[in-house]
């Protein structure tokens, strides 16, 4: 076998092995999207009921709570960034990081200091490499988050927002995550969790044509709100984590699908080249044989005379 042909054969082998791996990853990701979507759907009843309850207390009572009132001049804001633990998911993590950078710039231009909290190894690595300050970070569960993870994340954030901003607390709480729109579309979005903008919530329920009844609060509106809001934050974070997980799998599936397609194309063009090389080799061999034979024939013809 000619040297050229051997090189092509070896490359085809290597690409075929890669293709097998990317194909497997694509299929695993595809099956996980469905699971993740199911989890998002399963968490929905709790989230909607909780939002309804929060709206009911906030609109149905005159209770003033630090978590629903906007500070006159907010000076610090916390940003929770949700990225993935593992790579090979196309632009998934970098899109979320970029969205966080944009939010950070916007907040800075409004004169707010930004405290960063990160979920996922990719975000931690990005901030670590640039030696930026990270308040807190969590890793190891981004592809399958549990409610306990959301609780763990929410605890320091709620503690920070309940503290006065002069003592190192924050006035606002933002979250940056990748919203799962459909199998093909996932958007990195930023969202302000707290203080709760009640107008927005009220508008949403008004759009649904829902009239909120006058609730009787047990034990009191303030106590209910006190108990509700941390749960509300946890549920929002949980929902964001679940959507981010679904988006991560969708992004990985897409990235792996294009990798598989590219490997297929590469194999095709390489085997064309290999065929051409083999053909060239054969042609050369034939012409060598024919040339040799005719030279031999010429020689014997000459000696006969």
């Amino acid at each position: 076998m000619g040297a050229q042909l051997r090189v092509y054969k070896r490359r085809i082998q290597a690409v075929t092995a890669t293709k097998k791996i990317t194909k497997a990853m694509e299929m695993i990701a595809a099956s996980r999207i469905v699971k993740a979507q199911r989890k998002v759907a399963a968490s929905k009843p709790y989230a909607t009921e909780l939002t309804r309850a929060v709206t009911a207390v906030a609109t149905g009572s005159n209770a003033k709570h630090p978590l629903t009132t906007e500070v006159e001049a907010p000076t610090r804001a916390a940003v929770l960034l949700v990225t993935s633990d593992r790579g090979l998911a196309g632009g998934y993590s970098s899109n979320a990081i970029k969205a966080a950078e944009r939010l950070r710039e916007r907040l800075a231009s409004e004169g707010k200091e930004v405290d960063t909290y990160i979920v996922g190894r990719k975000g931690v690595a990005y901030y670590g490499f640039r030696e930026r300050k990270v308040e807190d970070s969590w890793t190891g569960f981004t592809d399958n988050p549990a409610y306990a993870d959301a609780k763990r994340i929410a605890a320091p954030l709620i503690a920070a927002i309940q503290k006065d901003s002069a003592e190192g607390g924050v006035d606002e709480l933002h979250i940056v995550f990748t919203e799962f729109v459909s199998m093909m579309t996932q958007n990195a979005v930023d969202d302000r969790m707290l203080p709760l903008s009640l107008d927005e919530v009220a508008e949403e329920s008004a759009r649904k044509g829902e009239i909120l009844p006058l609730f009787d609060f047990e034990p009191s509106a303030e106590d209910v709100l006190d108990a509700l809001l941390p749960r509300y934050v946890e549920s929002r974070i949980y929902n964001a984590l679940l959507q981010a997980a679904a988006s991560e799998h969708a992004a990985r599936r897409r990235a792996m699908k294009s990798a598989t397609d590219n490997a297929g194309d590469l194999i095709k063009s390489l085997s064309r080249l290999a065929n051409a090389a083999r053909q060239a080799e054969i042609t050369q061999e034939i012409s060598e044989i024919v040339g040799g034979a005719s030279a031999l024939a010429d020689a014997t013809a000459g000696s006969d005379k």
Binding site: S43, P45, A53, L214, F215, P219, V224
Partner: protein, 124 residues
């Protein structure tokens, strides 16, 4: 037919039980509360403890609820909690083991959880 109210028992990551009921008894921070159809709109904070739902078919559903909220409006009752376990789902032996372990490790939160589980089973 007696009046009914619609009950949704919802945990953070799943919907546990839903159906029609004639009476729901739950423990709020200010005491046990029984809700029957036509109750006035209510929003309360739940204590950890068993919740009893008397279904319109005459059966009883008991669940261990670990913290959460109760909200009632328009004859619709929602029970929200981070963790909800139906009494039928609770493994008594496991709960007992968990209680012993929690006592040995003096883990107050885990001990309380296990106790509530056992209490819910006892009511059953």
């Amino acid at each position: 037919m007696a009046a009914e109210l619609h009950v949704e028992l919802v945990a953070a990551d799943r919907s546990v039980w839903s159906g029609e009921a004639t009476l729901v008894v739950a423990r709020t921070t200010s005491g046990d509360i029984g809700i029957m159809p036509g109750h006035q709109p209510l929003l309360g904070v739940l204590e950890s403890g068993p919740v009893t739902i008397r279904t319109s078919e005459g059966g009883t559903v008991i669940a261990a609820v670990h913290g959460g909220f109760i909200s009632f409006a328009d004859n619709k009752l929602s029970l929200l909690a981070e963790i909800v376990e139906l009494a039928d789902e609770i493994d008594v032996q496991r709960a007992e083991r968990a209680l012993e372990r929690a006592k040995a490790e003096t883990d107050a939160a885990a001990e309380r959880r296990a106790e509530i589980r056992l209490r819910a089973v006892a009511v059953r």
